[in-house]
């Protein structure tokens, strides 16, 4: 049995309550800035119902993930693959996972740089922003799991208060825009929820931090707590968006959330959206850190390269890939690809894996 070479001493462990922030922090990223129009596209004024359905889906998928993890003590997904499928199939599966995780990190990185370029610094070349963000990522990831947990705690704490600013667009709310309620059938709603799923992805982090969590017995309640927080956040943002914008107007808005922030005005600070966009770096930074940490552990697991070297390799790949994606079309393309694939990897695959393990009773550690 080759468990990861990371030593699991107590100083490497994280407190279980931090799992809530890691789940929530990793779920909320770039998607919340502009996902509204894609869901509106499918289910119009019922978009908020689709968001709730997507939230329920995350709870179901997380339940399966936790069930799988509980069967294998102290193992992460990479180890479980190896235990269940054997050496080579596990390598292939792990490789797919790594590519997927890196891809979603790439969409986050590229998406945020796109926002900075469109709103604040159109003349700054992408590679400078890329390089500075990736340097920060190297610094964070080499700090280890406890640094990641700390950053996601601060990321959530320092940005969640912006939810209060939704009071400003609510002053212009037009409740006619939600009517007629329940005007779509369940198929359309599910389609909307599937569109939403890419923005709720991120809770797969539990598959990888599980070995490091101290009190594993009470982990589920924190995971579900984090998921519930995310769902509430998205429902509020979606409702305010629907009330503030006309549907047809919303379809033209790439970053509807920032457009709503545009009307926030304080006597000492006009144009609050610039503060908000800058703060968004914290929101997306913990996504980036955790994704690259997962990828780093994976590369180390399948190839045996030292973790630090693996990280440098991954960051190098990310840097080049990110510089290739210059136009809005190419960014939309990768977002579509990884969004589509993500649904199957995060929501469907855990169920498949769970069924396989239950049917064949493979490799489970008997307690």
């Amino acid at each position: 049995m080759s468990l990861s070479t990371f030593r699991r001493n107590s100083h490497m462990a994280i407190s279980v309550s931090l799992a809530l922030f890691m789940v929530h922090g990793n779920q909320v990223g770039i998607g919340i800035a502009g996902v509204q129009r894609f869901i509106y596209d499918r289910v119009q004024q019922d978009a908020w119902i689709a968001v709730i359905i997507a939230g329920i889906m995350t709870h179901i998928a997380a339940w399966f993930m936790l069930k799988i993890l509980a069967k294998f003590k102290d193992m992460d997904l990479y180890d479980i693959h190896q235990r269940v499928f054997g050496k080579w199939p596990a390598r292939v599966l792990n490789f797919i996972f790594i590519v997927y995780i890196m891809g979603s990190a790439l969409t986050i990185l590229r998406g945020y740089i796109e926002i900075i370029q469109s709103w604040m610094f159109p003349e700054v070349p992408s590679w400078i922003l890329n390089a500075s963000l990736l340097c920060l990522t190297i610094y964070g990831v080499t700090g280890g799991i406890r640094v990641l947990a700390g950053i996601s705690f601060f990321s959530v704490g320092l940005t969640l208060w912006q939810l209060l600013l939704m009071v400003y667009p609510m002053q212009y709310a037009d409740f006619h825009l939600l009517q007629p309620v329940f005007h779509h059938d369940i198929g359309q709603l599910m389609d909307g929820a599937r569109k939403m799923s890419f923005s709720t992805i991120g809770f797969e982090i539990i598959l990888f931090i599980y070995p490091f969590v101290k009190e594993k017995k009470i982990l589920p309640r924190y995971v579900h707590g984090g998921l519930f927080m995310t769902t509430c956040l998205y429902v509020v943002v979606m409702l305010v968006t629907l009330l503030y914008f006309q549907g047809e107007q919303l379809q033209h808005l790439i970053w509807a959330t920032f457009m709503m922030m545009k009307i926030v005005e304080f006597p000492f600070l006009e144009r609050f959206e610039f503060v908000s966009i800058s703060l968004w770096m914290l929101v997306m930074l913990d996504n980036l850190l955790m994704d690259l940490w997962i990828a780093m552990r994976g590369v180390h697991h399948i190839s045996g390269v030292k973790e630090r070297m693996a990280l440098f390799g991954i960051v190098g790949v990310m840097f080049f890939a990110s510089n290739f994606l210059e136009t809005r079309q190419s960014i939309n393309l990768i977002t579509d690809i990884f969004g589509g694939v993500g649904f199957y990897i995060i929501f469907i695959y855990p169920i498949v894996l769970y069924v396989v393990i239950r049917l064949f009773r493979k490799g489970a550690v008997r307690t």
Binding site: M120, V124, Q249, M259, I263
Partner: protein, 367 residues
């Protein structure tokens, strides 16, 4: 220690990278405060920009420049050629459109304001009688900056509820609504003063009619709600015509569709107010007298509201949003959502049943 050094290096890079962004030195910028658009004789756009100069040695604090081009961004380029300072749009507060231009449609001009991330959403849009150029370049001896003067005049009236607000984001929302039309304040220069005594009514993005601010009061009752409005109204009491002023009006409206086939709406308005002035001595401490006055005011408000609705239908505009409410009703009855043209066609035949209920809370400090 190594990590500390890494951090120092990173911070150093961040500090140095700050120089890479475009610099905005206040002395080198022309902060646009008000922008005017006209139709020039050769069919091009004539743009006028009023801007602040942050220059302690300048004799005049305000500069006005103009230029012609085919697009609004082209105007900025043309105006920059005439200016020693870079014109930036972050402080634009008022946009003035020539009424001739507004009659031809202004969607592309308004939409370009939203497309530019540097321009805020809280910009007031107005229509001017005559050329915006004449209004913005005129010297007003009592006001040093026409841009700020105009902005404060509009804002003061909007916040005092004497004028319907038409900020950029509100105009866009109304424009995109199916079955609701936008409005703007209609400004006019009378010698050395600016008057806002009309409201411009839009059909889609074209100016089609205007109503007085007095009619605007009744439009605002139907469009939104009042919290502190005031109104001078002519009532008939015991076969005598007399004037009274009601203040601190707070109003609520309820619009329902009575009939889908022959479109018929019930418009219920509930108001509470305080009598501030009576042109004649009437003892208001007697309940039956007060009741009489109350009934008389109700009748007068109802009459004027009906008169306004008739006028709106005659001009084929719907700033109240009856079409929107009709559209919801038709969807609830199981039919498909109507398009803008269909709604407009149906609204031509609409009938309204107005019902006004006024509660007099106080009669000032005397009975």
């Amino acid at each position: 220690m190594r990590r500390f050094r890494l951090l120092i290096h990173y911070l150093l890079v961040v500090v140095l990278l700050n120089g890479c962004g475009e610099q905005h030195v206040l002395e080198k910028l022309g902060l646009a405060v008000a922008v005017g658009y006209d139709l020039s004789k050769d069919g091009k756009l004539l743009g006028t920009t009023v801007f602040y100069q942050i220059d302690p040695e300048a004799r005049e604090l305000v500069t006005v420049i103009s230029g012609t081009a085919h697009t609004s961004k082209g105007l900025t380029v043309a105006q920059n050629r005439e200016s020693s300072k870079k014109i930036v749009g972050g402080q634009i507060r008022v946009v003035v459109y020539h009424d001739e231009l507004a009659r031809k449609g202004i969607l592309s001009l308004v939409e370009n304001l939203t497309r530019d991330a540097s321009i805020g959403s809280n910009v007031y849009l107005t229509v001017a009688k005559g050329r915006a150029y004449d209004i913005l370049t005129h010297r007003y001896p009592e006001n040093s900056n026409i841009g700020i003067y105009l902005y404060q005049a509009i804002r003061q009236n909007v916040e005092g509820e004497n004028m319907i607000s038409s900020k950029l984001h509100e105009f866009m929302k109304d424009y995109y609504a199916v079955g609701k039309d936008a409005v703007m304040p209609y400004i006019e220069r009378v010698k050395n003063e600016l008057h806002i005594n009309k409201i411009a009514l839009f059909r889609d993005d074209r100016l089609v009619a205007e109503i007085t601010t007095r009619e605007g009061f009744f439009l605002k009752i139907l469009r939104e709600r009042y919290n502190k409005g005031e109104l001078e109204i002519n009532i008939s009491l015991d076969k005598k015509r007399l004037f009274t002023v009601i203040e601190h009006i707070s109003s609520k409206k309820q619009i329902k569709v009575l009939d889908l086939e022959k479109p018929r709406f019930s418009v219920k308005v509930k108001m509470t107010a305080q009598i501030q002035e009576m042109a004649e001595k009437i003892d208001l401490s007697k309940p039956e007298q007060l009741k009489k006055v109350q009934k008389a005011i109700e009748l007068a408000v109802k009459k004027e509201t009906e008169h306004l609705l008739e006028k709106l239908r005659k001009h084929d505009v719907d700033p109240v949003g009856f079409g929107e409410i009709y559209n919801i009703a038709i969807q609830k009855s199981g039919k498909k959502k109507l398009s803008q043209e269909e709604v407009r066609e149906i609204m031509k035949r609409a009938k309204y049943e107005v019902d006004v209920e006024i509660k007099i809370l106080r009669t000032g400090v005397i009975g």
